[in-house]
Symmetry: C2
Subunit: 351 residues, 2 copies
């Protein structure tokens, strides 16, 4: 059943216990990762399928999570669009040719997955072989707003001044940029699915910078187009909108099979607002993993209790794992989720 838990929960089918995986489960908190990271820079790791695959597998072996998520960066498909991307030491991503005008947008290419991100597809093929059905493999992409925010700001941002300024000052340019990014995200995810991804997650990591009116006008339509376009691909789509507690109803409208929520809202309230016709993913505060194991356990129980016995809950953090997280606490978390959600009576019950 372990191999099926995650995909069954995405479809809101009965499971033997709540599946769990963790955003950024492959990463710097793990010694195995750091061993490789010391030898290669971050982009080289992403672009070498064997390394990306190996790093993806590390948490599967170590943590006992119920799904693998491809090791990659959300900005990878931007290079094929014509974006000059660098990961500067300790600074995060830097984009040397930020997008600020209609001419900048016109120059952007829509990628073709096989041609522009072959290494991502190859990593997926390797992983499907290596995983050999043990757990499913999740592919992913950034959402158009989040990708646009990096492209316009030239990197990470605190206030998104340039991004919002473009959106409000030149809505036509904004819309064309979102149009292209939407095409890219669809092509990128379809490529991943063709290569073998068994589910995909769309990360709208920074959409919480917007209020509901702006989300509705400038972000919801392109996000919905992505969700609609992926409906017939036969794999569940997880839509994670970070820091969007004030507008979960709009995220629901944008769609997806599973809605991922952060920790700033109670899971029961969030699910109620999103609707029980969606599966839900979340939502432990990632910093809880710095707390003593009994606190972690208590919080796990609290979230499981809020999810109730309704099928369709995938346990996850409310945001990515922090790089200094103690790895034994992560192992304890996964164990606690399985232990406290075990439903012996449900074993074998099909929905």
């Amino acid at each position: 059943m372990k191999s099926e838990r995650f995909l069954r929960a995405c479809k809101r089918q009965q499971v033997d216990c709540t599946p769990v995986w963790l955003m950024r489960q492959a990463g710097r908190y793990m010694e195995e990762y750091m061993e490789i990271r010391r030898k290669y820079d971050f982009l080289t790791m992403c672009k070498t399928p064997e390394i990306a695959a190996e790093v993806t597998l590390q948490p599967i072996n170590k943590l006992g999570v119920d799904a693998a998520i491809l090791f990659a960066d959300i900005l990878l498909p931007l290079e094929g669009m014509g974006i000059d991307l660098e990961f500067a030491k300790n600074e995060g991503p830097v984009i040397h040719n930020p997008i600020r005008s209609a001419a900048d947008v016109d120059k952007l290419r829509v990628i073709e997955a096989e041609e522009d991100v072959p290494y991502v597809l190859e990593a997926i093929r390797i992983l499907r072989r290596e995983l050999n059905g043990r757990v499913p493999l999740i592919g992913f992409s950034g959402a158009p707003f989040t990708l646009a925010s990096y492209m316009i700001e030239g990197g990470g941002s605190r206030n998104y001044v340039e991004c919002k300024r473009l959106m409000w000052q030149a809505p036509d340019v904004w819309n064309r940029l979102m149009e292209k990014l939407t095409d890219v995200v669809i092509e990128y995810l379809r490529g991943q699915i063709r290569a073998g991804a068994q589910a995909v997650q769309v990360f709208d990591s920074w959409v919480g910078a917007l209020g509901p009116s702006d989300y509705k006008r400038y972000v919801l339509p392109p996000s919905r187009r992505i969700m609609d376009s992926l409906k017939n691909e036969g794999v569940p789509v997880i839509h994670f909108a970070n820091n969007a507690s004030g507008m979960l109803e709009l995220v629901r409208e944008a769609g997806g099979d599973v809605i991922g929520v952060d920790w700033r809202v109670d899971l029961d309230t969030a699910w109620e607002r999103i609707g029980h016709d969606f599966a839900i993913q979340g939502n432990l505060d990632p910093i809880t993993l710095f707390a003593p194991p009994q606190v972690i356990e208590e919080r796990v129980k609290d979230i499981l209790q809020k999810a109730g016995n309704r099928p369709g809950h995938i346990f996850n953090l409310g945001h990515g794992l922090h790089k200094e997280t103690p790895v034994d606490h992560v192992i304890a978390l996964v164990e606690a989720v399985h232990k406290y959600s075990h439903r012996p009576s449900a074993t074998g019950a099909a929905s």
Copy 2:
């Protein structure tokens, strides 16, 4: 009526038009401010009553806002507690002796306003004379959680790892720290009120780092004690909880006469959830001020329409003014609020 608008709206009484003031309305976006700032460092400005008063008055004369808010920093009362505070160039506040243990907490003093922040009280006295009834003067304090987060982290933070770790690992130490901070906030605000502040705002700027369960257990009780203690002081209390869209019901429970909300939730939804027995303050995205004036106007109309004709709305931003905001856009904002909320039929109508 201009002089009364703000206080009447705090009490949910009829007004001739919606009062507006702006968080961080005195600041670096204004040339008059920069002229003084070039001569003095930030802490000197805060601690010299004549300068603090002058800077407080700048936006009153320039913008036409309906309330003045004392120019000060939320960390000022911490010095009297024994905190070694510095405003490092371009880095924001640095605390050289962060609080991490029971012994650290035990050493902290509870301040006495007249003794430890006499310059704040003196600035208030000067301001009441200078304002001479033109608009009311708002005093303010950080909320215990927000103050604690700076004290524990040693400055601003992105993930609040140390703060949350202390909260979860040593809840007794946390509670003692919150107890002392609560006493400090109450004494500080009572001192401001005695000196002449006609309303006070409690800023819980970083409480959005917490999920609802933690807020309820570790933050709500001390915040409520502050609101309860100020009930008999005869001035309205504004409780601003930033990034708390997921738990407005709990912020309501903590109390205050006016609840301030950020821009990540629609004002009508927020007011509904908080309850119409509270006044509400907000909630324009501060970055909107970088947009063209017609966009600002449209957003003002949208927020006013969401507030409806119900008394008790104070227009404000959803967070502080950004330092690079064009000042003429700020002036246009204030004008638009007054223009589009003008209620000729309500003039003279008392509630």
